[in-house]
Protein backbone atom coordinates (compact mmCIF):
# COMPACT_ATOMS: atom_id res chain seq x y z
CA UNK A 1 0.00 0.00 0.00
CA UNK A 2 1.31 3.39 -0.89
CA UNK A 3 1.49 6.04 1.78
CA UNK A 4 1.64 8.92 -0.65
CA UNK A 5 -2.07 9.86 -0.72
CA UNK A 6 -2.41 10.02 3.03
CA UNK A 7 0.76 12.05 3.28
CA UNK A 8 -0.42 14.55 0.72
CA UNK A 9 -3.74 14.83 2.54
CA UNK A 10 -1.86 15.61 5.66
CA UNK A 11 0.19 18.17 3.84
CA UNK A 12 -2.96 19.85 2.51
CA UNK A 13 -4.52 19.78 5.95
CA UNK A 14 -1.50 21.32 7.57
CA UNK A 15 -1.24 24.11 5.01
CA UNK A 16 -4.95 24.73 5.57
CA UNK A 17 -4.50 25.00 9.33
CA UNK A 18 -1.49 27.23 8.72
CA UNK A 19 -3.74 29.60 6.84
CA UNK A 20 -6.56 29.72 9.39
CA UNK A 21 -4.19 30.03 12.33
CA UNK A 22 -4.35 33.82 12.22
CA UNK A 23 -8.16 34.12 12.14
CA UNK A 24 -8.45 31.58 14.96
CA UNK A 25 -5.99 33.58 17.01
CA UNK A 26 -8.08 36.70 16.44
CA UNK A 27 -11.26 34.84 17.41
CA UNK A 28 -9.74 33.63 20.67
CA UNK A 29 -8.47 37.14 21.36
CA UNK A 30 -11.99 38.50 20.82
CA UNK A 31 -13.41 35.95 23.27
CA UNK A 32 -10.83 37.05 25.83
CA UNK A 33 -11.58 40.70 25.26
CA UNK A 34 -15.31 40.11 25.63
CA UNK A 35 -14.92 39.59 29.38
CA UNK A 36 -13.24 42.98 29.70
CA UNK A 37 -15.90 44.57 27.52
CA UNK A 38 -18.63 42.99 29.65
CA UNK A 39 -17.19 44.38 32.87
CA UNK A 40 -16.94 47.82 31.30
CA UNK A 41 -20.51 47.53 29.99
CA UNK A 42 -21.90 46.60 33.40
CA UNK A 43 -20.12 49.53 35.02
CA UNK A 44 -21.44 51.82 32.31
CA UNK A 45 -25.01 50.48 32.59
CA UNK A 46 -25.21 50.90 36.35
CA UNK A 47 -23.55 54.30 36.14
CA UNK A 48 -25.99 55.39 33.38
CA UNK A 49 -29.04 54.65 35.51
CA UNK A 50 -27.57 56.31 38.58
CA UNK A 51 -26.08 59.30 36.74
CA UNK A 52 -28.93 61.88 36.92
CA UNK A 53 -28.88 61.73 40.71
CA UNK A 54 -25.10 61.76 41.20
CA UNK A 55 -24.57 65.56 40.90
CA UNK A 56 -27.42 66.19 43.36
CA UNK A 57 -26.21 63.82 46.07
CA UNK A 58 -24.59 65.28 49.16
CA UNK A 59 -21.63 62.86 49.63
CA UNK A 60 -19.93 63.85 52.87
CA UNK A 61 -22.27 66.42 54.49
CA UNK A 62 -24.67 66.24 57.42
CA UNK A 63 -27.07 63.97 55.57
CA UNK A 64 -24.25 62.74 53.32
CA UNK A 65 -24.17 59.47 51.37
CA UNK A 66 -21.08 58.13 53.14
CA UNK A 67 -21.46 59.96 56.42
CA UNK A 68 -25.05 59.56 57.56
CA UNK A 69 -27.54 56.83 58.27
CA UNK A 70 -30.54 58.87 57.09
CA UNK A 71 -31.95 56.87 54.21
CA UNK A 72 -35.18 58.57 53.08
CA UNK A 73 -34.96 57.96 49.36
CA UNK A 74 -38.69 57.66 48.74
CA UNK A 75 -39.53 61.20 49.85
CA UNK A 76 -40.53 63.58 47.02
CA UNK A 77 -39.36 66.56 49.08
CA UNK A 78 -36.13 66.64 51.06
CA UNK A 79 -35.03 63.09 50.32
CA UNK A 80 -31.77 62.03 51.99
CA UNK A 81 -29.44 59.28 50.86
CA UNK A 82 -27.26 58.19 53.77
CA UNK A 83 -26.04 54.61 53.38
CA UNK A 84 -23.46 54.49 56.19
CA UNK A 85 -25.50 51.97 58.20
CA UNK A 86 -25.82 49.70 55.18
CA UNK A 87 -22.08 49.79 54.51
CA UNK A 88 -21.33 49.04 58.14
CA UNK A 89 -23.99 46.31 58.14
CA UNK A 90 -22.62 44.80 54.95
CA UNK A 91 -19.05 44.60 56.25
CA UNK A 92 -20.09 43.54 59.75
CA UNK A 93 -22.18 40.63 58.49
CA UNK A 94 -19.45 39.61 56.04
CA UNK A 95 -16.84 39.77 58.80
CA UNK A 96 -18.90 37.56 61.11
CA UNK A 97 -19.46 35.17 58.20
CA UNK A 98 -15.73 34.93 57.44
CA UNK A 99 -14.79 34.45 61.10
CA UNK A 100 -16.99 31.36 60.90
CA UNK A 101 -16.36 30.23 57.34
CA UNK A 102 -12.59 30.58 56.85
CA UNK A 103 -11.41 28.43 59.77
CA UNK A 104 -14.20 25.92 59.18
CA UNK A 105 -13.65 25.81 55.42
CA UNK A 106 -9.86 25.53 55.54
CA UNK A 107 -9.94 22.91 58.28
CA UNK A 108 -12.47 20.86 56.34
CA UNK A 109 -10.40 21.17 53.16
CA UNK A 110 -7.25 20.02 54.99
CA UNK A 111 -9.15 17.09 56.48
CA UNK A 112 -10.60 15.99 53.15
CA UNK A 113 -7.39 16.37 51.18
CA UNK A 114 -4.85 15.10 53.73
CA UNK A 115 -6.49 12.94 56.37
CA UNK A 116 -9.68 11.35 55.07
CA UNK A 117 -9.54 7.89 53.55
CA UNK A 118 -10.57 7.45 49.90
CA UNK A 119 -14.17 6.42 50.72
CA UNK A 120 -14.73 9.15 53.28
CA UNK A 121 -13.26 11.63 50.80
CA UNK A 122 -15.93 10.76 48.21
CA UNK A 123 -18.75 11.13 50.74
CA UNK A 124 -17.48 14.47 51.94
CA UNK A 125 -17.09 15.82 48.44
CA UNK A 126 -20.60 14.78 47.42
CA UNK A 127 -22.18 16.29 50.51
CA UNK A 128 -20.25 19.53 50.07
CA UNK A 129 -21.44 19.78 46.47
CA UNK A 130 -25.02 19.31 47.68
CA UNK A 131 -24.47 21.95 50.35
CA UNK A 132 -23.22 24.36 47.69
CA UNK A 133 -26.32 23.75 45.60
CA UNK A 134 -28.84 24.74 48.30
CA UNK A 135 -30.66 27.86 47.07
CA UNK A 136 -30.09 30.98 49.14
CA UNK A 137 -33.80 31.38 49.88
CA UNK A 138 -33.69 28.01 51.66
CA UNK A 139 -30.82 29.31 53.78
CA UNK A 140 -33.08 32.28 54.53
CA UNK A 141 -35.78 29.92 55.79
CA UNK A 142 -33.25 28.09 57.95
CA UNK A 143 -32.16 31.44 59.37
CA UNK A 144 -35.70 32.46 60.30
CA UNK A 145 -37.10 29.17 61.51
CA UNK A 146 -34.08 27.54 63.17
CA UNK A 147 -31.21 29.92 63.91
CA UNK A 148 -33.46 32.83 64.92
CA UNK A 149 -35.28 31.01 67.75
CA UNK A 150 -31.98 29.58 68.98
CA UNK A 151 -30.48 33.08 69.17
CA UNK A 152 -33.51 34.37 71.09
CA UNK A 153 -33.28 31.49 73.52
CA UNK A 154 -29.50 31.28 74.06
CA UNK A 155 -27.93 34.58 72.91
CA UNK A 156 -30.45 36.95 74.47
CA UNK A 157 -31.60 38.42 71.17
CA UNK A 158 -34.92 40.23 71.16
CA UNK A 159 -35.45 39.50 67.47
CA UNK A 160 -34.47 36.34 65.68
CA UNK A 161 -33.35 38.17 62.57
CA UNK A 162 -30.15 40.05 63.35
CA UNK A 163 -26.46 40.58 62.56
CA UNK A 164 -25.32 37.33 64.16
CA UNK A 165 -28.01 35.31 62.41
CA UNK A 166 -27.03 36.79 59.04
CA UNK A 167 -23.36 36.15 59.76
CA UNK A 168 -23.96 32.52 60.70
CA UNK A 169 -26.06 31.83 57.62
CA UNK A 170 -23.65 33.61 55.27
CA UNK A 171 -20.76 31.75 56.89
CA UNK A 172 -22.44 28.40 56.37
CA UNK A 173 -23.25 29.36 52.78
CA UNK A 174 -19.62 30.28 52.07
CA UNK A 175 -18.13 27.13 53.61
CA UNK A 176 -18.76 24.77 50.65
CA UNK A 177 -17.26 27.30 48.22
CA UNK A 178 -14.14 27.73 50.36
CA UNK A 179 -13.82 23.98 50.99
CA UNK A 180 -14.00 22.92 47.37
CA UNK A 181 -11.57 25.58 46.11
CA UNK A 182 -9.15 25.13 49.00
CA UNK A 183 -9.24 21.36 48.61
CA UNK A 184 -8.46 21.69 44.91
CA UNK A 185 -5.42 23.84 45.56
CA UNK A 186 -4.15 21.58 48.36
CA UNK A 187 -4.50 18.55 46.12
CA UNK A 188 -2.57 20.37 43.40
CA UNK A 189 0.54 20.40 45.63
CA UNK A 190 2.69 17.52 44.30
CA UNK A 191 3.15 14.49 46.56
CA UNK A 192 6.91 14.94 46.28
CA UNK A 193 6.55 17.96 48.62
CA UNK A 194 4.82 15.81 51.23
CA UNK A 195 7.40 13.06 50.83
CA UNK A 196 10.29 15.52 51.15
CA UNK A 197 8.87 17.06 54.32
CA UNK A 198 8.05 13.64 55.71
CA UNK A 199 11.60 12.45 55.12
CA UNK A 200 12.78 15.37 57.27
CA UNK A 201 10.73 13.99 60.12
CA UNK A 202 7.89 16.48 59.85
CA UNK A 203 4.60 15.24 61.30
CA UNK A 204 1.32 15.63 59.43
CA UNK A 205 0.39 18.91 61.08
CA UNK A 206 3.79 20.39 60.23
CA UNK A 207 3.46 19.21 56.64
CA UNK A 208 0.14 21.04 56.39
CA UNK A 209 1.32 24.17 58.14
CA UNK A 210 4.89 24.57 56.86
CA UNK A 211 4.67 23.03 53.39
CA UNK A 212 1.13 22.73 52.03
CA UNK A 213 -0.19 26.12 53.17
CA UNK A 214 2.74 28.09 51.69
CA UNK A 215 2.76 26.01 48.51
CA UNK A 216 -0.99 26.40 47.99
CA UNK A 217 -1.11 29.94 49.34
CA UNK A 218 -2.45 31.74 46.30
CA UNK A 219 -5.20 29.15 45.79
CA UNK A 220 -6.20 29.31 49.46
CA UNK A 221 -6.25 33.11 49.32
CA UNK A 222 -8.45 32.98 46.25
CA UNK A 223 -10.81 30.58 48.01
CA UNK A 224 -11.15 32.94 50.99
CA UNK A 225 -11.61 36.00 48.77
CA UNK A 226 -14.35 34.30 46.82
CA UNK A 227 -15.95 33.47 50.15
CA UNK A 228 -15.81 37.16 51.11
CA UNK A 229 -17.20 38.08 47.70
CA UNK A 230 -20.13 35.74 48.21
CA UNK A 231 -20.77 37.11 51.70
CA UNK A 232 -20.75 40.75 50.48
CA UNK A 233 -22.88 40.13 47.43
CA UNK A 234 -25.42 37.67 48.86
CA UNK A 235 -28.92 39.14 49.01
CA UNK A 236 -31.85 36.81 49.61
CA UNK A 237 -30.66 35.00 52.72
CA UNK A 238 -29.35 38.25 54.18
CA UNK A 239 -32.65 40.02 53.59
CA UNK A 240 -34.45 37.35 55.61
CA UNK A 241 -31.80 36.76 58.26
CA UNK A 242 -30.67 40.25 59.26
CA UNK A 243 -33.98 41.94 60.06
CA UNK A 244 -33.65 44.67 57.43
CA UNK A 245 -33.36 47.57 59.86
CA UNK A 246 -31.38 50.62 58.81
CA UNK A 247 -29.18 51.19 61.84
CA UNK A 248 -25.55 50.87 62.86
CA UNK A 249 -25.35 47.78 65.07
CA UNK A 250 -23.99 48.15 68.58
CA UNK A 251 -24.19 44.45 69.41
CA UNK A 252 -24.20 41.15 67.56
CA UNK A 253 -27.90 40.70 68.22
CA UNK A 254 -29.01 44.00 66.65
CA UNK A 255 -31.02 43.77 63.45
CA UNK A 256 -29.24 45.42 60.51
CA UNK A 257 -29.55 45.92 56.79
CA UNK A 258 -27.07 45.74 53.95
CA UNK A 259 -26.54 47.46 50.59
CA UNK A 260 -27.79 44.41 48.73
CA UNK A 261 -30.83 43.86 50.92
CA UNK A 262 -31.87 47.50 50.52
CA UNK A 263 -31.77 47.25 46.73
CA UNK A 264 -33.72 44.00 46.76
CA UNK A 265 -36.42 45.19 49.14
CA UNK A 266 -36.97 48.65 47.61
CA UNK A 267 -36.48 48.11 43.89
CA UNK A 268 -40.05 46.86 43.46
CA UNK A 269 -41.52 50.09 44.88
CA UNK A 270 -39.21 52.43 43.02
CA UNK A 271 -40.70 54.04 39.95
CA UNK A 272 -38.40 53.63 36.92
CA UNK A 273 -36.33 56.79 36.37
CA UNK A 274 -37.34 58.32 39.69
CA UNK A 275 -34.71 59.68 42.10
CA UNK A 276 -35.52 56.69 44.33
CA UNK A 277 -34.63 54.24 41.58
CA UNK A 278 -31.52 56.28 40.74
CA UNK A 279 -30.44 56.19 44.37
CA UNK A 280 -30.71 52.39 44.38
CA UNK A 281 -28.51 52.26 41.27
CA UNK A 282 -26.04 54.49 43.11
CA UNK A 283 -25.89 51.84 45.82
CA UNK A 284 -25.36 49.26 43.09
CA UNK A 285 -22.46 51.32 41.76
CA UNK A 286 -20.94 51.42 45.24
CA UNK A 287 -21.29 47.63 45.52
CA UNK A 288 -19.51 47.20 42.19
CA UNK A 289 -16.66 49.43 43.34
CA UNK A 290 -16.37 47.54 46.64
CA UNK A 291 -16.24 44.11 45.00
CA UNK A 292 -13.73 45.32 42.40
CA UNK A 293 -11.58 46.78 45.17
CA UNK A 294 -11.66 43.49 47.09
CA UNK A 295 -10.66 41.53 44.02
CA UNK A 296 -7.85 43.91 43.11
CA UNK A 297 -6.49 43.88 46.66
CA UNK A 298 -6.56 40.11 46.65
CA UNK A 299 -4.70 40.06 43.35
CA UNK A 300 -2.06 42.47 44.57
CA UNK A 301 -1.68 40.51 47.77
CA UNK A 302 -1.24 37.22 45.93
CA UNK A 303 1.26 38.69 43.50
CA UNK A 304 3.17 40.42 46.29
CA UNK A 305 3.45 37.13 48.12
CA UNK A 306 4.72 35.38 45.05
CA UNK A 307 7.50 37.89 44.49
CA UNK A 308 8.57 38.16 48.06
CA UNK A 309 10.47 35.21 49.52
CA UNK A 310 8.77 33.34 52.32
CA UNK A 311 10.27 34.02 55.70
Amino acid sequence: MSQTPSRSWRAILSTATDKIEKPIELLIKACGLSSIVLVAAIFFFVFWYAAPLLPKIDWFGHDGFFTSTNWHAKEREGATYGVLAMIVGNFAVAAVAMIIAIPLGLAAAVYISEFAGPRAKEWFKVSIEILAAIPSIVWGFIAITMIGPLLIKYAGATMGANLLNGGIVLGLMSVPLIVSLAEDSLRAVPDSFREAAMALGANRWEIVYRVLFPAARSGLMAACMLGVGRAIGETMAVLLATGNKNQIPTSFTDPITTLTATIASEMGDAEAGSPHSQSLFTIGLLLLVITCAINLTANLFIRGNKRKSAA
Binding site: E195, A199, L200, G201, A202, R210
Partner: protein
Amino acid sequence: MSPDSSMQPTHLEFRDLSVWYGQSKALDEITFSVPRHSVIGIVGPANSGKSTLLKTINRTLEFIDIAKTGGDVLVDGQNVKSIRNVYSLRRRIGMVFPLPVGLPMSVYDNVAYAPRRMGIHDKAQLDELVENCLRDSVLWDEVKDRLDLLGTKLSGGQQQRLTLARALSLEPEILCLDEFSIAIDPVTTMKIEEVLMRLKERMTIVLVTNLTQQARRMADAVAFINASQLIEWGPTEQLFNNPGKELTGRYLNGEFG
Protein backbone atom coordinates in the same frame (compact mmCIF):
# COMPACT_ATOMS: atom_id res chain seq x y z
CA MET B 1 36.94 2.53 49.61
CA SER B 2 37.85 1.71 53.13
CA PRO B 3 39.38 -1.73 53.35
CA ASP B 4 38.11 -2.22 56.87
CA SER B 5 34.45 -1.80 56.02
CA SER B 6 33.92 -5.54 56.35
CA MET B 7 35.16 -5.32 59.92
CA GLN B 8 32.42 -2.85 60.82
CA PRO B 9 29.26 -4.07 62.56
CA THR B 10 26.04 -4.31 60.56
CA HIS B 11 24.17 -1.02 60.43
CA LEU B 12 21.28 -1.74 58.13
CA GLU B 13 19.73 -5.10 57.42
CA PHE B 14 16.92 -6.36 55.22
CA ARG B 15 15.37 -9.72 56.17
CA ASP B 16 13.00 -11.40 53.72
CA LEU B 17 11.60 -8.00 52.85
CA SER B 18 8.64 -8.11 50.47
CA VAL B 19 6.45 -5.24 49.31
CA TRP B 20 3.19 -5.39 47.40
CA TYR B 21 1.38 -2.52 45.71
CA GLY B 22 -2.12 -3.98 45.66
CA GLN B 23 -1.71 -7.24 43.77
CA SER B 24 1.65 -6.57 42.16
CA LYS B 25 4.82 -7.46 43.96
CA ALA B 26 7.43 -4.69 44.05
CA LEU B 27 10.02 -6.48 46.19
CA ASP B 28 10.37 -10.22 46.65
CA GLU B 29 12.06 -11.49 49.82
CA ILE B 30 15.09 -9.26 49.79
CA THR B 31 17.83 -10.16 52.27
CA PHE B 32 21.15 -8.39 52.65
CA SER B 33 23.02 -6.25 55.12
CA VAL B 34 25.12 -3.10 55.11
CA PRO B 35 28.08 -2.52 57.46
CA ARG B 36 28.50 0.80 59.27
CA HIS B 37 30.45 3.53 57.46
CA SER B 38 30.24 1.86 54.09
CA VAL B 39 28.63 2.78 50.81
CA ILE B 40 26.21 0.25 49.37
CA GLY B 41 25.32 0.71 45.73
CA ILE B 42 21.91 -0.53 44.68
CA VAL B 43 21.71 -0.98 40.94
CA GLY B 44 19.15 -2.41 38.56
CA PRO B 45 16.86 -1.50 35.69
CA ALA B 46 14.04 1.01 36.12
CA ASN B 47 10.97 -0.24 38.00
CA SER B 48 12.84 -3.05 39.66
CA GLY B 49 11.97 -1.86 43.17
CA LYS B 50 15.04 0.16 44.14
CA SER B 51 13.19 3.27 45.29
CA THR B 52 10.62 1.16 47.12
CA LEU B 53 13.48 -0.41 49.04
CA LEU B 54 14.60 3.02 50.26
CA LYS B 55 11.10 3.97 51.34
CA THR B 56 10.90 0.93 53.61
CA ILE B 57 13.91 2.19 55.60
CA ASN B 58 12.33 5.43 56.84
CA ARG B 59 8.78 4.06 56.51
CA THR B 60 7.64 6.74 54.09
CA LEU B 61 6.15 3.80 52.19
CA GLU B 62 3.28 4.01 54.69
CA PHE B 63 2.24 7.15 52.84
CA ILE B 64 1.09 4.97 49.94
CA ASP B 65 -2.27 3.52 50.91
CA ILE B 66 -2.10 0.37 48.81
CA ALA B 67 1.42 -0.67 49.86
CA LYS B 68 1.81 -3.72 52.10
CA THR B 69 5.06 -5.07 53.48
CA GLY B 70 6.30 -8.41 54.79
CA GLY B 71 9.61 -9.23 56.40
CA ASP B 72 11.79 -6.86 58.38
CA VAL B 73 14.08 -3.87 58.07
CA LEU B 74 16.56 -3.41 60.91
CA VAL B 75 18.44 -0.21 61.66
CA ASP B 76 21.17 -0.76 64.23
CA GLY B 77 19.56 -4.07 65.10
CA GLN B 78 16.23 -2.43 65.84
CA ASN B 79 13.22 -3.40 63.75
CA VAL B 80 11.85 -0.20 62.22
CA LYS B 81 8.32 -1.57 62.60
CA SER B 82 8.71 -1.52 66.36
CA ILE B 83 9.76 2.14 66.49
CA ARG B 84 6.86 4.02 68.07
CA ASN B 85 7.84 7.52 67.01
CA VAL B 86 8.18 7.23 63.25
CA TYR B 87 9.29 10.88 63.06
CA SER B 88 12.33 10.21 65.20
CA LEU B 89 13.24 7.34 62.86
CA ARG B 90 12.94 9.62 59.83
CA ARG B 91 15.19 12.18 61.44
CA ARG B 92 17.93 9.55 61.72
CA ILE B 93 17.75 8.79 58.02
CA GLY B 94 18.58 11.35 55.35
CA MET B 95 16.65 10.84 52.12
CA VAL B 96 17.32 12.39 48.74
CA PHE B 97 14.59 11.70 46.21
CA PRO B 98 15.19 11.67 42.46
CA LEU B 99 12.76 14.53 41.81
CA PRO B 100 14.30 17.75 43.07
CA VAL B 101 12.01 19.39 45.60
CA GLY B 102 12.68 22.78 47.07
CA LEU B 103 10.18 23.24 49.87
CA PRO B 104 8.16 26.48 49.62
CA MET B 105 10.37 28.40 52.03
CA SER B 106 13.69 30.21 51.68
CA VAL B 107 16.89 28.36 50.80
CA TYR B 108 18.12 29.04 54.32
CA ASP B 109 14.92 27.75 55.92
CA ASN B 110 14.95 24.67 53.71
CA VAL B 111 18.22 23.65 55.32
CA ALA B 112 17.50 25.06 58.79
CA TYR B 113 14.06 23.44 59.02
CA ALA B 114 15.10 20.10 60.48
CA PRO B 115 17.74 21.49 62.89
CA ARG B 116 15.21 24.01 64.21
CA ARG B 117 12.75 21.21 64.81
CA MET B 118 15.42 19.42 66.80
CA GLY B 119 15.69 22.48 69.01
CA ILE B 120 18.60 24.44 67.56
CA HIS B 121 17.60 28.11 67.57
CA ASP B 122 20.91 29.88 68.11
CA LYS B 123 21.43 32.10 65.05
CA ALA B 124 25.20 31.67 64.80
CA GLN B 125 24.99 27.92 65.23
CA LEU B 126 22.25 27.68 62.57
CA ASP B 127 24.22 29.90 60.18
CA GLU B 128 27.24 27.67 60.49
CA LEU B 129 25.20 24.50 60.07
CA VAL B 130 23.42 25.82 56.99
CA GLU B 131 26.70 26.91 55.42
CA ASN B 132 28.33 23.54 56.09
CA CYS B 133 25.43 21.60 54.61
CA LEU B 134 25.33 23.83 51.54
CA ARG B 135 29.10 23.51 51.12
CA ASP B 136 28.88 19.72 51.39
CA SER B 137 26.26 19.65 48.69
CA VAL B 138 28.39 21.98 46.49
CA LEU B 139 25.63 24.59 46.39
CA TRP B 140 27.05 27.25 48.71
CA ASP B 141 28.90 29.32 46.11
CA GLU B 142 25.80 29.58 43.95
CA VAL B 143 23.36 30.63 46.67
CA LYS B 144 25.43 32.33 49.39
CA ASP B 145 24.25 35.79 48.29
CA ARG B 146 20.59 34.89 48.04
CA LEU B 147 19.81 32.63 50.94
CA ASP B 148 16.41 34.27 51.32
CA LEU B 149 15.31 33.21 47.84
CA LEU B 150 12.42 30.77 47.70
CA GLY B 151 13.76 27.22 47.43
CA THR B 152 11.28 26.51 44.65
CA LYS B 153 12.88 29.22 42.49
CA LEU B 154 16.23 27.47 42.12
CA SER B 155 17.06 25.53 38.96
CA GLY B 156 16.42 21.79 38.85
CA GLY B 157 20.03 20.86 39.53
CA GLN B 158 20.28 23.40 42.33
CA GLN B 159 17.09 22.12 43.94
CA GLN B 160 18.54 18.63 43.74
CA ARG B 161 21.59 19.77 45.70
CA LEU B 162 19.32 21.68 48.09
CA THR B 163 17.54 18.39 48.76
CA LEU B 164 20.94 16.87 49.57
CA ALA B 165 21.81 19.78 51.87
CA ARG B 166 18.49 19.31 53.64
CA ALA B 167 19.14 15.62 54.12
CA LEU B 168 22.60 16.40 55.55
CA SER B 169 21.11 18.95 57.96
CA LEU B 170 19.62 16.06 59.92
CA GLU B 171 23.16 14.75 60.59
CA PRO B 172 21.72 11.39 59.57
CA GLU B 173 23.30 8.10 60.52
CA ILE B 174 22.11 6.63 57.24
CA LEU B 175 22.02 8.69 54.05
CA CYS B 176 19.84 7.35 51.24
CA LEU B 177 20.43 8.77 47.79
CA ASP B 178 17.97 7.94 45.04
CA GLU B 179 19.45 8.91 41.66
CA PHE B 180 20.86 12.06 43.21
CA SER B 181 22.77 13.07 40.09
CA ILE B 182 20.16 12.88 37.31
CA ALA B 183 19.61 16.65 37.25
CA ILE B 184 23.23 17.60 37.95
CA ASP B 185 26.08 18.19 35.50
CA PRO B 186 29.05 15.76 35.52
CA VAL B 187 31.55 18.19 37.06
CA THR B 188 29.29 18.99 40.01
CA THR B 189 28.43 15.32 40.31
CA MET B 190 32.09 14.46 40.72
CA LYS B 191 32.46 17.14 43.39
CA ILE B 192 29.48 15.76 45.31
CA GLU B 193 30.85 12.25 44.99
CA GLU B 194 34.09 13.43 46.62
CA VAL B 195 32.15 14.98 49.48
CA LEU B 196 30.11 11.81 49.93
CA MET B 197 33.27 9.73 50.16
CA ARG B 198 34.38 11.98 53.02
CA LEU B 199 30.95 11.83 54.67
CA LYS B 200 31.31 8.07 54.88
CA GLU B 201 33.31 8.58 58.05
CA ARG B 202 30.19 9.99 59.69
CA MET B 203 27.39 7.95 58.13
CA THR B 204 26.39 4.89 56.17
CA ILE B 205 25.38 5.64 52.60
CA VAL B 206 22.80 3.79 50.52
CA LEU B 207 23.24 4.80 46.90
CA VAL B 208 20.53 3.89 44.42
CA THR B 209 21.78 4.59 40.93
CA ASN B 210 21.24 3.82 37.28
CA LEU B 211 24.85 4.66 36.56
CA THR B 212 26.75 1.45 37.15
CA GLN B 213 30.05 3.34 36.87
CA GLN B 214 28.97 5.65 39.68
CA ALA B 215 28.32 2.61 41.85
CA ARG B 216 31.74 1.22 40.87
CA ARG B 217 33.46 4.50 41.78
CA MET B 218 31.76 4.94 45.13
CA ALA B 219 30.37 1.75 46.55
CA ASP B 220 32.12 -0.74 48.81
CA ALA B 221 29.47 -3.30 48.03
CA VAL B 222 26.82 -3.55 45.35
CA ALA B 223 23.37 -5.15 45.38
CA PHE B 224 21.84 -5.92 42.00
CA ILE B 225 18.04 -5.90 41.93
CA ASN B 226 16.12 -7.00 38.86
CA ALA B 227 12.34 -7.42 38.50
CA SER B 228 11.70 -7.17 42.28
CA GLN B 229 14.33 -9.74 43.15
CA LEU B 230 17.78 -9.45 44.62
CA ILE B 231 19.88 -11.25 42.02
CA GLU B 232 23.11 -11.02 43.98
CA TRP B 233 25.14 -8.76 46.24
CA GLY B 234 28.75 -8.60 47.27
CA PRO B 235 31.94 -6.51 47.25
CA THR B 236 31.96 -4.09 44.33
CA GLU B 237 35.01 -5.34 42.47
CA GLN B 238 33.94 -8.95 42.84
CA LEU B 239 30.55 -8.18 41.29
CA PHE B 240 32.04 -6.21 38.44
CA ASN B 241 34.95 -8.54 37.66
CA ASN B 242 33.66 -11.90 38.67
CA PRO B 243 29.85 -11.92 39.00
CA GLY B 244 28.21 -15.06 40.34
CA LYS B 245 25.27 -14.80 37.93
CA GLU B 246 25.38 -14.23 34.20
CA LEU B 247 22.56 -11.65 34.44
CA THR B 248 24.59 -9.49 36.82
CA GLY B 249 27.57 -9.41 34.48
CA ARG B 250 25.42 -8.51 31.52
CA TYR B 251 23.71 -5.68 33.37
CA LEU B 252 26.89 -4.24 34.85
CA ASN B 253 28.52 -4.31 31.43
CA GLY B 254 25.64 -2.34 30.01
CA GLU B 255 24.23 -5.11 27.85
CA PHE B 256 20.67 -4.44 29.03
CA GLY B 257 18.87 -2.12 31.40
